[in-house]
C-alpha cells in the first residue's frame, strides 16, 4: 500500500511533481481578491456594529437621526451616489471594451471611471467642510465620519488602482486575451460601490 503519488508511469515522461491540483477551480489571483474583500466586509462590519449600537442599541440613542440641530446633506450625497454608481457602469463598459479589443473605448471608460471617482472623493471632502459638525460633537458625528471616511479611504485606494490601469492602458498594456489587471480593480471598484450603497442607505436615508 502506498500513500504517495505514483512517480513513474512507464512511457509517460514527467519531471518534477504532478501538475497543481486545481480542484477548487478558483484562480489564485481571484482567490486573493476574494479573501481581501472578505476581510474588508469584516472591517466595514465592525464600523456598522458601532453605528447600530449608537443609533439603536444605546439606551441614550437620539430619537432623531442625526440629533437636532444637525442635518446630513442628503441631496448632495445622493448626487454623489449617482456619480459613483455611474462610474461602475463605465468601469464595466471599459472591461467589456478591452475584451472586444476596442482600445479607445476601454481607455475612455477607464478615464471616465477615474474622473467620476475623483469627483466623488472631492465632493465628499467639500461635504465634510460644510457639514456643520465635527467628530467632537457626539457619537453620531464620530460614526458618520468613521463610516464615510473609511469608505472614502477605499475610494482613494480604488483610484490608485484605476490610475495604474490607465497608465498601463495608455502604454499599450492589456488585450482581449490578457486583461486580468483590469478585471481585479473592476471587482474592487464594484465592491466599493456596493459598500457605498449600504453606507448611504443606512446613514443618510434611514
Amino acid at each position: 500500500m502506498t500513500s504517495h503519488a505514483e512517480a513513474a508511469h512507464g512511457s509517460h515522461e514527467h519531471h518534477g511533481p504532478p501538475a497543481a491540483h486545481k480542484s477548487s477551480r478558483v484562480d489564485a489571483r481571484v482567490l486573493g481578491m476574494l479573501l481581501f474583500i472578505g476581510s474588508e466586509i469584516m472591517l466595514f462590519g465592525s464600523f456598522f456594529a458601532v453605528y447600530f449600537f449608537v443609533r439603536v442599541a444605546n439606551p441614550n440613542a437620539p430619537s432623531e437621526w442625526p440629533p437636532a440641530p444637525y442635518e446630513f446633506p442628503v441631496f448632495v450625497a445622493g448626487i454623489n451616489t449617482a456619480i459613483l454608481v455611474t462610474s461602475s457602469f463605465t468601469m464595466h463598459w471599459a472591461l467589456q471594451s478591452i475584451k472586444r479589443g476596442q482600445r479607445p473605448a476601454f481607455l475612455a471608460g477607464m478615464v471616465l471611471t477615474f474622473v467620476m471617482g475623483l469627483a466623488f472623493l472631492l465632493t465628499q471632502v467639500i461635504e465634510y467642510l460644510h457639514v456643520g459638525f465635527n467628530t467632537g460633537d457626539g457619537a453620531f458625528a464620530s460614526v458618520f465620519f468613521g463610516l464615510t471616511g473609511l469608505h472614502g479611504a477605499h475610494v482613494a485606494v480604488g483610484l490608485t488602482l484605476l490610475g495604474m490601469v490607465i497608465i498601463r492602458g495608455f502604454r499599450g498594456h492589456f488585450s482581449p486575451e490578457h486583461h486580468h489587471g483590469v478585471e481585479l480593480p473592476g471587482i474592487y471598484w464594484h465592491f466599493v460601490d456596493i459598500m457605498w450603497i449600504v453606507v448611504y442607505s443606512t446613514v443618510y436615508l434611514l
Binding site: E6, G10, S11, H12, M33, L34, M91, I194, V198, L205
Partner: protein, 213 residues
C-alpha cells in the same frame, strides 16, 4: 456555490441587485421602520437561499491519457463504507480476470462538514485507512494486487486526485443503493461521467439493514 465577486461581471450584477434591494428596504423603512426591517430580513434570507442552492459553472471535461503498457488497464476504484462489499469485490474480480489490470483503491476520508472546517480529520482518515487496509488484504487473499490511498473527503476531489496521479482507463464508483446513498443524492456518479472521458462504472453495494448512510 458561486461567489458574487468571482469576476467583474458578477460583481457588477451584484451591485445592481444591491441597489434594487436597498431601494426596497429604504422605501419600506419610510413607510414603517419595522416594515423596512422585515424587508431586509426577507431579502437577506432570499439571497442566502439562492446563494446556497445555485450550481457553480461546470468544469471542463478532462481528457485522461492512457499510460503504461498498451495491453495494460488501469482501474481506479472509489468507495466509501461499501469498500469491502461483495458486489464491489466481484466487480473487481471480473475486471482482474479480463486481462492485465492495475488497481488503485481510493477510500475518501468521510467527515462531517464541521469537522472538515475545523481540520478535525484524523479520526476520519484513520477509519478510511482501516477500511482500505482490510479491503487490500482481502483482494490480496484472492490473488488481486492493488494499491490503496485515503482520499479527500469530497468524492469528486478524491477521484480527480486519483485521475491526476494514476491516469486510469476506467473508474469504478461504489455506492449504497438509491435512497440511502449520499453520493447518489449529490450526483457524484453523473458528475464523474461528465468530468472525465473514461468509462465510469457504478457498483451498488447493499450492506443490509445496518446500511443507513
Amino acid at each position: 456555490m458561486e461567489s458574487p465577486f468571482r469576476s467583474e461581471a458578477a460583481a457588477f450584477r451584484f451591485l445592481l441587485i444591491t441597489i434594487g434591494a436597498f431601494a426596497l428596504i429604504v422605501a419600506a423603512s419610510w413607510i414603517d421602520p419595522w416594515l423596512g426591517f422585515a424587508v431586509w430580513v426577507l431579502l437577506t434570507a432570499g439571497a442566502v437561499a439562492v446563494y446556497l442552492h445555485q450550481r457553480g459553472p461546470r468544469p471542463p471535461r478532462q481528457h485522461v491519457e492512457h499510460v503504461g503498457l498498451p495491453d495494460e488497464r488501469r482501474v481506479l476504484v472509489v468507495a466509501n463504507e461499501t469498500v469491502g462489499g461483495e458486489e464491489l469485490m466481484s466487480a473487481i474480480g471480473e475486471l482482474a480476470l479480463a486481462g492485465r489490470t492495475q488497481f488503485l483503491v481510493v477510500c475518501p476520508a468521510l467527515n462531517s462538514r464541521l469537522k472538515t472546517w475545523t481540520s478535525d480529520e484524523d479520526p476520519a482518515r484513520a477509519a478510511a485507512q482501516k477500511r482500505l487496509g482490510a479491503t487490500i488484504a482481502r483482494l490480496a487473499s484472492v490473488g488481486i494486487e492493488a494499491r490503496g490511498e485515503v482520499g479527500d473527503a469530497d468524492p469528486l476531489v478524491a477521484i480527480e486526485d486519483g485521475v491526476r496521479t494514476f491516469h486510469p482507463d476506467e473508474v469504478v464508483i461504489s455506492t449504497h443503493p438509491e435512497g440511502r446513498s449520499n453520493w447518489l443524492e449529490r450526483g457524484v456518479v453523473s458528475a464523474a461521467r461528465e468530468r472525465f472521458d473514461v468509462p465510469v462504472t457504478h457498483v451498488v453495494v447493499d450492506l443490509g439493514p445496518q446500511d443507513t448512510t
